[in-house]
Amino acid sequence: MDVMQIANGLPMWIACGIPVVFVVIQAVLFAKGAYSAGKKVGLSDEKMKKAMKSSAVTSIGPSIVVLSGMLSLLVTVGGPVGWMRLSMIGSVMFESIAAGLGTSAVGVTLGTDAMTGEALGMAVWTMILCSIGWVLFSTFAANKMDKIEHKLSKGNAGTLTTIASAAIIGVFSAMCASHLSKPFYSMLQKADAAAMSSSWHNLMACILGAVIMFILTQIANKKNIGWLKEWSLTITILGAMIITALI
């Protein structure tokens, strides 16, 4: 039987559906717990619904990016595995590297050589084995890190808030800096023209995102326009994306 027929067969859809459903069940369990806890600590229904709506709107854009990354996995390891891997634990970059490592250990280069049954098995096993480290460690450590953090801040709520806010800024400045610095060191390392052009475009998208967001937030705050606050992120991302693509 052709390997891709196996990879896209019904047994594989069912096998991959189980982990995907599991991830959704976990999310629903946590959401239910958080919702009832929210009521008890004095969060209004209205606030929580607003939060969920805002998160849903924010998810759509990145989900489509992940989807476009998933399509490259569909070609190499089949629909079900690609679907499961990006719904569970994975990220696009990790999955393609792990799949490649697995197949190359049996002499199949992803994207150039034809997939064999052995290589498919290797890809699937490698993707799973290399990703469970994250889940094992985070599941083991989640409640312990809480205690460490509380000890560090000595239970002071103000310090804890500062730590969290500073950490968020740390995360996003890191994400931005990775795009902002790339054209400069690529230039020094004499990268080829295609790589340079895409890294300059990423830099521009990042700066445009920041500038448009700044302008929209200023307008929304000064004139107190509620809907603009809610949609500012969507408008910003779409705007920055379109302008960058046109230039």
Binding site: I6, A31, L67, G121
Partner: protein, 227 residues
């Protein structure tokens, strides 16, 4: 008091759900491999698998520990359980958790903030899975339908999102953010130039971890100065 409810009732419940679903999730992740073995008789050779695993572990092994630690202050315990089972953390879970906090007007790092972040993350997981499910079923025809210019534009979505979010959260701590961007730029430039190549896999983890910890350190230092 509310604090007692959160610490004494909500957190033990979160830990119970988290531990159970986390460890079970690891087992469930193996179903596709199991089906390949049982239904089709495809079982990889242990030696080849070990080779692949060792190269994977040396590329990602540090991240298994570094990422949960560096994202913990942002996502909290419930978020840590959820984010690492569902993946796509920096590009989706954290932005969604943070935007939910903005919409509900709660501070990160507080009890209310953590509850809202959990809600936001759960919603983003459900949306993400829905989009991917539709995409996987419709398959390659979805991508084939998109014109090349749209496909190219999609590459710019994430950098734009990061730029926008940095401004959104940086507005509250402008000085801090400007300092952090400069530090982060220098750090990433150095990593890109290969300054840290002597550290294994530095380009994967050093940037985020470095920025989170420097940012926390600067934040605490300026906080005590203000007092």
């Amino acid at each position: 008091m509310n604090g007692n409810f959160y610490k004494d009732e909500y957190m033990p419940q979160v830990n119970k759900i988290g531990k159970l679903t986390g460890y079970l999730g690891v087992l469930v992740a193996f179903t596709p491999a199991l089906v390949l073995a049982v239904v089709y008789g495809i079982v990889p050779k242990p030696a080849a698998l070990l080779t692949a695993f060792i190269s994977g572990a040396s590329a990602f092994g540090v991240l298994w520990f570094v990422e949960p630690i560096s994202y913990f202050p942002v996502v909290g315990p419930a978020g840590t359980y959820m984010a690492f089972l569902s993946g796509n953390i920096s590009n989706m879970r954290i932005p969604c958790a943070s935007m939910a906090q903005v919409a509900a007007d709660v501070e990160p790092g507080t009890e209310k903030g953590s509850i809202i972040a959990t809600l936001g993350m759960a919603v983003s997981i459900i949306i993400n899975v829905s989009v991917l499910t539709i995409g996987a079923i419709l398959g390659t025809s979805v991508l084939a339908m998109l014109p090349d210019s749209v496909k190219a534009a999609l590459n710019y979505l994430l950098p734009a999102l990061f730029g926008a979010l940095l401004v959104q959260f940086g507005m509250k701590m402008i000085k801090h953010s400007v300092i952090m961007v400069v530090i982060a730029f220098a750090l990433y430039f150095a990593i890109g130039m290969g300054v840290f190549n002597w550290l294994p896999g530095a380009s994967n983890w050093l940037g985020t971890l470095g920025c989170v910890f420097i940012s926390i350190a600067v934040g605490i230092a300026t906080l005590s100065n203000n007092k």
